[in-house]
């Protein structure tokens, strides 16, 4: 494979490429969807293909083909160069890339339980155990869906600068959702499991444990009341802190979005958060869903400090954005597969713990909300964020009170980061999937934190 890729890379220079790279992948997937006790589909995939990227006169050309045959790859490079040349016609500022160390490496993963070697029967068995546990929890649980996915394979990356990385890929992911109903009221709940370690993730995230958690929440929501609408103090659990670190802040600090005018633009070295806030994006957490050794530009993943004691000290980069901002690449260039080009993506994003217990965080709150687990979140370039919450409780006089349902919080990220007035000492990382045109596997998390006030949008 290495020799073929080297020949193909050489051909790109002949077509006029100033820089060329090829990412060749062979992938195997297993996917399951179960609805209640019905296996809706057991799916297996075998695929290969290559992503090719060139810089011609400062413009990017990209081509992808479902083939690893040298002739096809050369034709694709020729297409990419022609397109890049056309695109370069109106360029005022040509694209340049920050320097990256030339590396040659082979990354072999040695999972204790390799998902590629586990039978489809066993995977169906695990998923069925999960649906059975959910449905058995309470008769008000009306339905559940379990999705399972594993992806294994190898990625060969080579560029015209001499970097060559051969890297195994391994992802195991499961999502369980439950719906509950009682007297015309519908609730639902979701949990995800995700790992780059191996199938052994189910030894700790057992069907018993995860199933109970999902079902219990759906049922508990049935007796929950609607939240009040308005501005209230809130204690955010690690799962919600994670989505805040990722959605509300993280995307703004992806350097492509920063450069596109996110509210973080021009804030490097400036204080944008309370002293208590430090945020990392870390690609090196062992076995975590957002971890890998090299990114899809051949740059080693690292632990990147984004906010230190409230001050912006870093952004997440690919080689192009690092050059634009005169910084070093951080290993955040990721592509979902050979069909797409790498984008600046997060890895494991978390807020650093400090020293408070949960009781201490709750203590000062006369009336507010404890936001335990999120349903979804989204942020705009101007820093407006929205996070939907699937599990929340009232806080009354410093004590956790009744559950509330369908809470959604919103605000401006920077204003809210300044309002963080206490940070807990616990820590959890939660796996998830992030969409930015492509899907990336990530984690996010942190400790419990307290926010002086946040806008709560109640149900109508």
């Amino acid at each position: 494979m290495k020799d073929t890729l080297a020949r193909v890379i050489d051909s790109a220079s002949a077509f006029g490429a100033d820089y060329a790279e090829v990412r060749a992948e062979k992938l195997f997937e297993t996917a399951l969807t179960l609805e209640e006790d019905r296996v809706e589909a057991a799916e297996q995939g075998i695929e290969h293909g290559a992503a090719l990227r060139v810089l011609v006169k400062g413009a990017w050309g990209f081509a992808t083909v479902g083939s690893l045959e040298a002739g096809t790859l050369k034709t694709a490079f020729s297409d990419a160069c022609r397109m890049a040349r056309a695109a370069s016609a109106r360029l005022k500022t040509p694209v340049k890339q920050a320097e990256a160390r030339v590396v040659e490496d082979k990354v072999v993963l040695k999972p204790r339980k390799d998902p590629a070697k586990i039978s489809v029967e066993e995977k169906i068995g695990t998923a069925l155990a999960l649906t059975k546990r959910i449905l058995a929890h309470d008769k008000r649980v009306r339905g559940c869906t379990v999705d399972y996915l594993d992806l294994t394979g190898t990625c060969h990356f080579m560029n015209s600068e001499g970097t060559y990385v051969e890297q195994d890929k391994l992802y195991v992911w499961t999502r369980a959702t439950a719906t509950a109903a009682e007297s015309g009221l519908f609730t639902f709940s979701r949990e995800e499991i995700g790992s780059t370690a191996g199938y052994e993730v189910f030894d700790t995230a057992t069907p018993e444990k995860v199933g109970t958690m999902v079902a219990r929440r759906a049922v508990e929501q049935l007796k929950a009341k609607s939240p009040k609408a308005g501005t209230f103090p809130a204690v955010l659990g690690p799962n919600v802190v994670g989505v805040f670190a990722h959605e509300a802040f993280g995307h703004l600090a992806e350097a492509d979005l920063t450069l596109a005018g996110s509210v973080i633009q021009g804030k490097f070295g400036k204080k944008i958060a309370s002293d208590l806030v430090s945020i990392y994006d870390d690609g090196t957490v062992k076995g975590a869903f957002g971890s890998f050794k090299y990114d899809d530009e051949g740059v080693p993943a690292q632990k990147t400090l984004l906010i230190k004691d409230g001050v912006v000290v870093g952004f997440m980069h690919n080689r192009e954005t690092a050059h634009k901002l005169n910084m070093k690449p951080t290993g955040n260039a990721r592509a979902e597969d050979f069909r797409v080009y790498p984008l600046v993506r997060m890895r494991n994003t978390y807020l650093q713990p400090k020293d408070h217990t949960l009781e201490e965080l709750l203590e000062g709150v006369e009336f507010g909300y404890l936001l335990k687990s999120f349903r979804g979140g989204q942020a705009n370039q101007d820093g407006t964020f929205q996070v939907g919450i699937q599990e929340a409780y009232e806080i009354v006089n410093g004590e956790v009170g009744k559950p509330v349902r369908d809470v959604s919080i919103s605000g401006n990220t920077l204003e809210t980061l300044h309002k963080v007035n206490a940070v807990g000492k616990d820590f959890e990382l939660w796996p998830g999937r992030c969409g930015k045109g492509q899907t990336a596997f990530i984690c996010d998390g942190g400790p419990h934190i307290r926010v002086k006030e946040v806008l709560v949008g109640g149900s109508a």
Binding site: Q44, G45, A379, Q386, S408, G457
Partner: protein, 454 residues
């Protein structure tokens, strides 16, 4: 990786079905998809990106003792790999559990004709042409107002062909084209940055207007400046297609999918014949809509696409079905089996979900509103409760309407409500219907929605 001609694709699909039956499948189906796309991308006011994608593959569904297995591969040139995929589809089926509700793959039925789904002009466009269209968008945006930055966007074309064959006599091929252009802008004035504003064209025929897209995206960003907070109150909302599409997708559409209904995960279960929306509301799922983004002759399992009345004058008339969910109720598929290329088994999805437009002009809709908000776009619809239809989103960008006129742009307002209540309270529909993903709809005026401001 030579391009498959349509008849070759059908032959390959039929061969795969035969092989699967020979290897022990009770029933088998093969779906072949080939897609080619070309695009140029705008970033920070420049055209810096171009991409060409060629993707083709086969997805094989086998049924063994009422259990379903599926496998796919994109290695169509390797006969051994296609056979390996067929073997995996069979091993998946054998590992799976029998489904007592399984009936059969759909039988062959006559197909309707569709219009304006394939345009050779799109196929013949060169990368240089796409760069020209993108350049025209950038020029127009720059000329409109210097406070506007075009931050993202692009122009793309696609053409695809698909073939489906099964052991029940189905054997169809079709092809289609699409073209789109889009521009994402922000406006900056002093310390103020607007939320991102988007405009686009997406068509099946070569019928885009890059200048219009750029002008609209720029005007939108400029008018989003000088944003103010608004007060908390229950009021009227004009939903544009951007906002409506998000809410319908995340809070409503699952409720009319037969699989959700049959599993008790739809608030509309048991409500056929009941009034569920304002009598102004007429919705068809129209797989044959002329030039529709999701129009085709057959669905993902080879059943005919059709026009299905979902809501008639506010009364719920039908859910949407694939052949599996239809058999469960001893009825016919409505042609709503969707696939993501060759990579997955079919699932129930709408085609062109068409909310019929009214007669009122958009200007008259606004002039009817004494107090309210026009919500152009929103954030957070995906965290809606898909069963109850409750949503709580941020309106961004949005404008306050006072005494029939746009008063000022609004920042940070949350809008909380329930999509079923919104549909019940519809008091006017504009005459500005457009295609928008799965939705074809006009602006919609509804009342009694809670806006949470400062």
């Amino acid at each position: 990786m030579a391009a498959l001609r349509q008849e070759q694709a059908l032959n390959l699909a039929e061969e795969a079905v035969k092989t699967a039956l020979k290897k022990g499948a009770d029933e088998a189906e093969a779906f072949i998809f080939r897609g080619e796309s070309t695009g140029v991308g705008i970033e920070l006011g420049q055209i810096v990106r171009s991409a060409r994608t060629v993707d083709q593959g086969i997805g094989i569904r086998t049924i063994v003792s009422k259990a379903t297995g599926f496998a796919y591969t994109n290695m169509l040139n390797s006969k051994a790999t296609v056979e390996e995929a067929i073997a995996r589809a069979l091993s998946s089926a054998k590992a799976s559990k029998p489904d007592k509700n399984w009936h059969s793959l759909p039988a062959k039925k006559p197909l309707s004709t569709v219009k304006k789904t394939y345009d050779p002009k799109i196929v013949n466009l060169r990368p240089e042409d796409l760069v020209q269209f993108a350049a025209r968008m950038l020029d127009t945006a720059e000329e409109t107002d210097k406070r506007v930055s075009p931050i993202e966007g692009g122009v793309g074309t696609g053409c695809f062909s698909e073939a489906v064959a099964n052991s029940n006599g189905v054997g169809f091929v079709d092809r289609g084209t699409a073209i789109n252009c889009s521009l994402v802008t922000v406006a900056k004035d002093g310390n103020e940055t607007t939320p991102v504003c988007v405009e686009f064209n997406a068509e099946r025929s070569f019928n885009i207007d890059p200048e219009w897209v750029a002008r609209e995206a720029s005007h939108l960003a400029i008018s989003a400046l000088k944003a103010k907070k608004t007060e908390t109150k229950t009021t009227n909302i004009v939903f544009t297609q951007f906002a409506l599409q998000e809410l319908m997708q995340y809070a409503f559409i699952n409720s009319v999918k037969a699989d959700y209904v049959q599993r008790g995960q739809s608030s509309l279960k048991g409500k056929i014949g009941e009034k569920v929306a304002s009598e102004l509301v007429n919705i068809h799922d129209d797989g044959l809509f002329e030039g529709g983004l999701l129009t085709g002759r057959f669905d993902g399992e080879g059943a005919p696409r059709q026009r299905t009345c979902v809501i008639d004058k506010g009364v719920l008339r039908s859910f949407i079905y694939d052949s599996y969910t239809a058999h469960k109720e001893s009825r016919e598929s409505t042609g709503n089996a969707a696939r993501s290329g060759y990579l997955s088994t079919p699932s129930v999805e709408p085609t062109n979900f068409h909310l019929a437009s009214g007669r009122t002009t958009p200007e008259d809709i606004i002039s009817e509103v004494d107090d309210g908000l026009i919500m152009y776009n929103l954030q957070g619809a995906h965290s809606s409760n898909p069963v109850s239809g409750d949503f709580s989103v941020v309106a961004t960008p949005a404008w306050k309407i006072e005494k029939g006129e746009l008063a000022y742009s609004v920042k940070g307002a949350m809008v909380a409500g329930n999509i079923f209540e919104v549909l019940k309270n519809v008091s006017a529909l504009a005459n500005n219907e457009r295609k928008f993903g799965q939705l074809v709809a006009p602006w919609v005026l509804s009342g009694n929605v809670k806006v949470i401001g400062k």
